[in-house]
């Protein structure tokens, strides 16, 4: 209350003056002090205050929910935190029977599948964004933007379904044999081409993160001032040189942010990955081999976990995943914000 409230609501204080009726006659002038306080009426003032506190309550409930989530995850994982300490994150065993748990295979699977996804999706998403904002005819722009937004609306489980029955057979029969013969020497594409495995997870993830990366890149590219483009063209640049020098260079930080935001999504993605990655806690160099991610081990084993330590270890993986995605997302937001600052799309950030 007091000065801080007054400060926060100064915008609303201004019109309150307008509520005071001007003293026109003597009788009203006598009543003036009473009217001044009571123009809204004591009951209404209480209603206003109650409403304000109710809205504040809604806002605070959001804080409370996040606090509860963190608290619960820490409480539920304390058994495993005590038992394994930091060693949990570099330990490779996952043996529920012996009660020996380490998160390394899952961290490895999460990072590798996400990196494969980025390697495929970044060039495609940037190409699409550049095409939509700088090259394509106006009539096509809306259609392409809508279509790529639709990709973002498809649920994870449907991507997974499609991946199992369409993508995996294609990988197994055509792509993986071809990769094995042409690039087998790298060691990344060796072993039996099952279809299911790290590569399949990476490919389906890449399809899922493209719309995110490309829609934020579009926003960032649109935020680059028109004069930059005109200046480059006026100096005799070709269209590509204009895009490279005038647009992409200015939007670097924002594009980086878009990519990291895509990474954040890929790290936490569960269903589609669980359905095609093979779910085996192993660390293999070949991308054809099955793997396991932090999200999918939780999805598969949480309801079946017997024993408190097993459950606790799974919750600790969840906690680690949460912290990882929060850090990644925060980094991305700062980068995107640094470019789109002052644009209408981010008015809330003022």
């Amino acid at each position: 209350m007091g000065s801080s409230t007054a400060n926060r609501t100064d915008m609303l204080r201004v019109p309150k003056k307008a509520m005071d009726p001007p003293p026109q006659s003597a009788s009203q002038a006598i009543e003036f002090p009473r009217v001044k306080r009571g123009a809204v009426g004591p009951g209404l003032r209480i209603a206003d205050r109650a409403f304000r506190y109710a809205m504040l309550g809604c806002a605070l409930s959001v804080l409370a929910i996040v606090a509860f989530i963190l608290l619960e995850l820490i409480l539920q994982s304390r058994l495993s935190l005590h038992a394994f300490g930091w060693n949990f994150f570099v330990h490779q065993a996952w043996d529920p029977v012996a009660g020996d748990f380490g998160a390394l295979p899952f961290i490895y699977g999460t990072l590798v599948s996400s990196l494969v996804a980025l390697a495929i999706s970044v060039p495609l998403a940037l190409g699409l964004a550049v095409y939509i904002t700088e090259m394509c005819p106006p009539w096509l722009r809306g259609i392409l933007a809508f279509t790529s937004d639709l990709l973002a609306a498809i649920p994870s489980v449907i991507y997974g379904l499609w991946a199992i029955f369409v993508l995996v057979p294609i990988l197994r029969n055509y792509v993986e044999p071809w990769l094995a013969t042409t690039m087998g020497w790298t060691g990344l594409f060796t072993g039996a081409p099952y279809g299911i495995g790290m590569l399949a997870a990476g490919v389906i993830l890449s399809i899922m993160v493209i719309p995110i990366i490309s829609s934020i890149t579009r926003e960032v590219l649109t935020a680059v001032p028109r004069q930059q483009r005109e200046a480059a063209l006026a100096l005799g640049a070709t269209r590509w040189e204009m895009i490279r020098i005038g647009v992409l260079r200015n939007a670097r930080a924002g594009i980086m942010g878009a990519i990291i935001l895509g990474l954040g999504r890929a790290l936490g993605e569960t269903m589609a990955v669980t359905m095609v990655i093979g779910n085996r806690p192993e660390i293999a160099k070949s991308l054809f081999a099955p793997g396991y991610t932090m999200a999918s081990v939780i999805a598969n084993e949480f309801t079946e976990a017997t024993g408190d330590l097993y459950l606790s270890a799974l919750v600790e993986i969840g906690l680690a995943l949460l912290i990882l995605t929060l850090v990644v997302n925060a980094l991305a937001r700062i980068l995107v914000w640094s470019v789109t600052r002052g644009m209408p799309a981010s008015t809330h950030a003022q």
Binding site: V40, S148, A345
Partner: protein, 289 residues
């Protein structure tokens, strides 16, 4: 002066690079659109065959028996999404109103930041947290827990949409209402929020479309059920959960049903998104989504 052959060669190279860049961008666009088309074609081709009245109205039959459907899962999804809207919409609109009308200073910055954090929580972690918060207290899986998880996930989107839309309402409208002696709370609800309503509804529908297909948060909350269930305190089937279970099963009939379920789900979601796009592109609320 550079000699003319030199500039000629340079110009030729630059033209080639320019054309290659254009070709690259077009290729990228085609490669992105291709999987989308492929997914839709497969959904319709595989799903439409298994789609029938029985599919929409019957509960699953045991493996091996012909027939059965996902009626209970569709009903369960509706139940869970109803609960999630009851939780997510009021809280989201309330926090949006707080941020737009009263939110100044550090608390507002904190609330915005936390809403962003909530938006970034992986859905599987959300499911685990709600399991600890609700299911462990109740001692069993329930539609209520599922609705709670999805409701929380709706809050950030609704909050943001509400705040942005309220800030777009001209201040003069607020002042006019207050000047007429209308109470502050009434002004916010009947004048400001009312003016911003189309945009707020857009935000709610987008949030709905986002959680309608969520599977991961329901794994340990609603859990799934092979039978009809209307009890909020019992494990409940949900369409995305059923699709997941059937997709990873070894039975061909179940795969068919998974495709049909996916078709129903995608039609619901894409329908919602398309309606939002049509309305927002009408000019009233352009640039909101």
């Amino acid at each position: 002066m550079p000699n003319s052959t030199f500039t000629k060669i340079l110009g030729w190279k630059r033209a080639v690079v320019d054309h290659m860049a254009t070709a690259g961008a077009v290729l990228a666009a085609v490669l992105v659109i291709a999987p989308l088309l492929a997914i839709f074609i497969y959904l319709v081709a595989r799903g439409a065959g298994a789609l029938s009245w029985a599919f929409l109205t019957h509960a699953p039959k045991p493996v091996g028996e012909v027939g059965g459907g996902m009626g209970n899962a569709i009903a369960g999804s509706a139940l869970i999404l109803g609960i999630s809207c009851l939780i997510g919409v009021p809280l989201g609109i309330g926090s949006g109103i707080y941020l737009a009308e009263y939110g100044r200073g550090k608390l507002a910055i904190l609330v915005r930041f936390i809403a962003d954090v909530l938006n970034g929580v992986p859905s599987i972690v959300m499911g685990m947290a709600v399991y600890a918060l609700v299911v462990l207290q109740q001692k069993h899986f329930s539609a209520l827990a599922g609705g709670f998880a999805l409701g929380i996930m709706m809050i950030p989107t609704v909050t943001r949409a509400t705040e942005e839309m309220l800030l777009m309402v001209p201040r003069s409208i607020r002042e006019a209402a207050l000047g007429l002696g209308v109470a502050e709370w009434r002004t916010v609800l009947s004048v400001t929020l009312r003016t911003a309503l189309p945009g707020v509804i857009t935000g709610i529908m987008l949030a709905f479309a986002r959680v309608a297909g969520e599977t991961a948060p329901l794994l340990f909350t609603a859990f799934g059920n092979q039978f009809w269930n209307w009890n909020l305190n019992q494990p409940t089937a949900a369409l995305p959960l059923q699709i997941y279970t059937y997709a990873i099963s070894p039975y061909d009939e179940w795969h068919q049903q998974a495709w049909a379920g996916a078709l129903v789900l995608i039609v619901t979601i894409v329908g919602t998104v398309a309606v939002v796009r049509l309305v927002t592109n009408r000019g009233v609320m352009k640039g909101t989504s």
